[in-house]
Point group: D2
Chain length 310, copies 4
C-alpha cells in the first residue's frame, strides 16, 4: 500500500548516507556503437579498488540520452552484478515527462539501484518554473521505491533548479539531496543553509569546485574526473574532510584544468580519451558526439601534463 511504501521509503531515506565521491561512469561502446558490457565490467573491477562511496550510472557523462530505455536498465543491472554490496549505485532515471520518469525510476529500482538521480526536465525550459518542477519531482518521489537525488546541470539543460523549489522538495521524505553541477558556490552555500533542518545532502557535480563546495557544507561529489583520477579525487575528499586545507588546496588547484578539459571544455569524448591514458576503457562516443580532433587531443594532454598528471 502507498502508506507502507511511504514509511519504508522514509526509513530508507533516513538510512542512506551519501557522503563521499562517485564517478559518473562512462558507457563504453563497441565499434558498432553497441554497449560493450565486457569493457564496462573491466572498468568496474578497477574502480572497485578505489575508495569511492559508490557509482553514478547514467549521469550526463554516461551518454544516457543516447541509450534506449532497455539499454539504460541493462547497464544498471550489469553494474549491480559487479558492484560490491557496500557501494551505492545511483542510477539516472530522468526523462522529459513525469510519467516516463516514474516508469524508468521503478525499473531502475528493480534493476538494483540504491537511489535514483533525476535530472530536471528541460525541453520546455520556459515553463519549468518552481511549481512545475516541484510537482514533477514530488510525483516521482511519491512513486519511487528508492530515495531520489535531484540533479541540476545547467550546462546541458539550460535550466537551474531554483532555490525555492529545492527548499520545498527537501521536505519530501523520499528526496535525499541534490547533485549540483551548476557550480554557483553562493547558491550551493545557500541551499545547504536553507535546508539544514531537513538533513538534505548536497553533492558537488564537478571536481572543479569540490573543495569550495565542502567549505560551504556539501557532503561529497559526483565528479567526471573521478573516472580518470579516482584516487586523487578521493584523496581531495579526505583532505577536505580531515581539515588538511593546505594540502587540499594544492591538490584541488591541480585538478581544475584536467577537470575542465574532460567536462566543459572538451566534453565526454575527452573524458573517454583520458580514461584510455589512465588504464580504463573509454573508446568512442555515440554519434553525434565526435572524436576529438588532433588539436583537441593535444590540448587535453597539455591540461593533464601541465598539472603533473601525465
Amino acid at each position: 500500500s502507498p502508506a507502507w511504501k511511504q514509511t519504508r521509503n522514509h526509513a530508507a531515506a533516513a538510512r542512506l548516507d551519501l557522503r563521499g565521491i562517485y564517478p559518473p561512469i562512462a558507457t563504453p561502446f563497441t565499434p558498432q556503437e553497441d554497449v560493450d558490457f565486457q569493457k564496462l565490467e573491466e572498468n568496474l573491477q578497477k574502480y572497485a579498488k578505489i575508495p569511492f562511496r559508490g557509482l553514478v550510472v547514467q549521469g550526463s557523462n554516461g551518454e544516457y540520452p543516447f541509450l534506449t530505455e532497455e539499454e539504460r536498465v541493462e547497464v544498471v543491472k550489469a553494474v549491480r552484478r559487479s558492484l560490491p554490496a557496500d557501494k551505492l549505485l545511483m542510477a539516472g532515471s530522468g526523462c522529459e515527462s513525469t510519467k516516463a520518469t516514474i516508469q524508468l525510476t521503478q525499473k531502475m529500482a528493480a534493476a538494483g539501484a540504491d537511489a535514483v538521480l533525476v535530472v530536471t526536465p528541460c525541453f520546455y525550459k520556459g515553463k519549468m518554473n518552481s511549481p512545475a518542477l516541484v510537482q514533477h519531482f514530488t510525483k516521482v518521489a511519491d512513486n519511487s521505491p528508492v530515495p531520489v537525488v535531484l540533479y541540476s546541470v545547467p550546462a546541458n539543460t539550460g535550466l537551474e533548479l531554483p532555490l525555492d523549489a529545492v527548499m520545498g522538495l527537501s521536505e519530501h521524505p523520499n528526496i535525499l539531496g541534490l547533485k549540483d553541477s551548476g557550480g554557483d558556490i553562493t547558491q550551493i552555500g545557500l541551499i545547504v543553509h536553507k535546508t539544514k533542518t531537513q538533513d538534505f545532502q548536497v553533492l558537488a557535480g564537478s571536481a572543479g569546485f569540490l573543495m569550495a563546495a565542502y567549505s560551504v557544507g556539501a557532503v561529497g561529489g559526483v565528479c567526471a574526473l573521478a573516472n580518470v583520477l579516482g584516487r586523487e579525487v578521493c584523496e581531495l575528499e579526505h583532505l577536505c574532510v580531515s581539515g588538511r586545507l593546505e594540502e587540499a588546496r594544492a591538490l584541488q588547484q591541480r585538478l581544475i584544468e584536467p577537470n575542465a578539459a574532460v567536462t566543459r571544455k572538451l566534453g565526454v569524448p575527452a573524458l573517454k580519451q583520458a580514461m584510455e591514458w589512465f588504464g580504463f576503457h573509454g573508446g568512442a562516443c555515440r554519434s553525434p558526439l565526435q572524436p576529438l580532433t588532433e588539436a583537441e587531443t593535444q590540448q587535453l594532454r597539455r591540461d593533464f601534463c601541465s598539472n603533473g598528471w601525465l
Copy 2:
C-alpha cells in the same frame, strides 16, 4: 540499394514544394494523459477546411518529448489516415542520437510521412558544433526514405544551427530546407542568400515574424498560432505572396501578441487553452507542463482580445 535510394530521394526532394503554412499540431490527451485519437481526428477535420499546405506532426508544440516512440508513430499514422492526399505530412523524427533518429525517421516514413522534420540534438550542446551537426544530419538524410527538413529551435534546445552547417547541408540531395524558429531575421535572410543555388526552402518557425521572413525570402511558415487562427495565418501568407503589403502589415501586427502568448510567453498550455476558445480540442498537457494559472489565462485572453480576435 543505397544508390537507388539516393536517386529516388533526390527525385523526391526535387518534387517536394514546401511553400505554404503548416500548423505544428497539438496532441490532445485524455484525462488519464493518454493520446486522445478521437479528439485529434476532430481537430484534423476542422483543419481540412483551412488552406494549409500541410501539417507538422510532432514539432515542439506536439509535446513529442513526452511521447513514447510508439505513440509518436501511432499519431503519425492516425494523421495520415485522415489527411487529404494533397496535403503534406511533415513528421518530427529527431532524437538525441543519430542512430535513434535514423530509426524513427524510417518508421515515420513507413507511417506515411511525406517529409521528416529533424531537430538539432541538444543535450551535449557544448559539443554540437558545425562538424558534429553536419555529420548527424548527413547520416540521417543518407538513410531517410523521405526528404529531410532541418529544425532549429533555440528557445527549446539552447542551440542555433550555425550558418556554415546549414550551407553545407543545403547541398545534400535529400535535405529540402529548414524550419527556423530562432527568428533572427538577419540570419534567415543570410541563409536564403547563401543557399540560393540549392533550391533550399526556408520556413519561418513562428507567426510572429512571418511577414518579415517572407520579405527576406522564406517560402512559408510552421506556426503554432495556425492551430488557433489558421485561416488568418493563411491569409497573411496570401497577402505577403501577392504583394498586398499594407494589408499584410496590419494583419501581421495583430498576430504578434496572440502568437507570443501561445509560444514564448505562456507555451503549449496556452496554445491548447486558446484552441478550446476557437473551437478545437486542446485540453491538458502531459506533466510536468502545468495548466495555466488564472492570471495567465487572463493574460492570454487579453492578448487575443486587445487585437480583436476575441
Copy 3:
C-alpha cells in the same frame, strides 16, 4: 519658461520627420589619438553627395564612450558647420546618469543638433527595469530643447528597452521615436503596432535587417554600413519604400555579410578599415580597441568581395 518650452518641443516633434537613412558616422583620429577634424570634414563632404536623411553623430560607431564631453560637443559643432541645412543632425547624448544626460543633451542642442539619440543607461543593468528607464527618458525629454530618439543597443549595453517602457515613452510629446539595434523583428513589429496612435517613428539600427524592418513598419535606418556603402543602403531604402521587393531582397541579401563584418563580427576597427577601401577616412580607433589582425582583415575583405562589393 517650461510651458513655452514644452509647446515648442511638441511642435518641433510634430514637425520632425525621421524617414530615411543615416550613417552613424565614425570619428577619425590623428596618429596621436586626437580627433582629426580635417579628415572628418572630408568624409562629410563625400557624404553630402549621398541621399541620406541626415547623420547620427556619436552613435556606438562614433566611439563616443572614448570621447570627453568637450570632444563630443566639438564634433557635433564641426558636423553642424558642414552639414547642409536640410539634413538632420542627430547627436548621441546619452550618459549613465540622468543629470549628465540632461546636461549633455542641452549642450548638443546648443551645438546644433536637430534631435538627440539617447542610449539606455546600462551599468546597473539589473536595476534598469521599465519604471527606471521611463523616468530617466522622461526627465531627459522634459528638459531637452530638441526632440529625443530612444536608443536600444543590447550588443553593447546588455539591455533591451522593454516594450512597455517604449509604449509609455511614446506618449511623451518630445519623444519622437526609437533606434532599435537589437534586431528582434517580432519586437520591432510589435513596437510599431502598439505605438501607432502616437506617430512614433522606428528606425532600424542596422542594415542587416533593414528590409525586414520596413516590412513591419519601420520608417528608416541608422546603419553603420552606410558609412561605407551609403548609396547602396539608400538604394535599398528606395526599393523598399517603392515596393520593388524582388530587387530590394536581392540587394538586402548582398548587404548582410558586409554589414555583419563591420558591426557584430569585427566591430568599429573593421568599419574604419572598410571606409578606407571605399574612399573615406577611417583610420585607427582609440585604445583599447585594437587594429584588425591580418586574418580579420582578410575575413573583412572576403565578406565584401563574396558579395560583389570589392
Copy 4:
C-alpha cells in the same frame, strides 16, 4: 624618469599587502543629488572602528558611473583626509578609454590613493578579447604611480576578464592582484593556481562566496555587505584565516541572503537602505537608480531578519 618610476612602482607593489576586508563604500548624496561630504565623513568615522584592511572608493557600489571626473577625485581626497594612515585606500579609476583611465589613475594617485582598482572596459564587449584587455591594463599599469588591481564584474560589464589575460597581466610589476566579482569559484581557484609564481593577490568581490574564495586561495574580500555588517564580514575573514571552519561556515551561510539582497537582487538602493538601518548614512541614489518599492523594502528586511541580523 620612466626607469625610476618603474623601480619605485615595483618596490611599491612588492610592499603592498592586500590581505583583508574592504567595504566598497557608498556615496551619500544630498536631496539635490550632490555628493554629501558631511555624511561621507560620518560614515568614515564609523568605519574607522572596524578592522578593515582599507576602503575601496568608487567600486560599483560607489555609483562612480554617475559621478563626474571632478567628483570622483574630490571624493577620494575627502576619504584620504579622514582615513587612518595604516588603512589602504583603493580608488576606482577605470574608464572606457585607455587614455582617460591613465589620466584618472594619475589623478587618483595624486589625491592619495594607495592603489587603483581598474575595471574592464566594456562598451565594445565584442572586441574586448584578451589581447585588447592585456594592452589596456598594461598601458595603465605602465603609467600608474601606484599599484594596480584588476577588476572583473560581469554583472555590470557583461564581460569576464579571461584567464589568459589575467595570467599575462600578473607578470606586470605594477599589477598587484584582482578583485573578482564574478564568483565563478572554479575560475578563482584556477587564477590563484596559474599565477602563484607571481605573488598575485586575489580578492573576492562579494561576501556571498568569501569563505569559498578563501578555501581556494583568495587573500581577502571587497564586499558590499561590509558597508552594513562590517564587523561580521571581518569576523568571517578571521574565522577563515584561523581555520575555525565550523564557525566560519555558520557565519558565511547567514551572510549569503543579506549579501544577495544588497547586490544582485536589489542593488545599490538596497545597500543604502540597509546602511540606514544599521546606523550609517545611505540615502538616495542618483537617477536613474530608483528608490526601493515598498515590496522591495520588505524583501530586503526579510533577508536580514530571517538570518538574525534585524
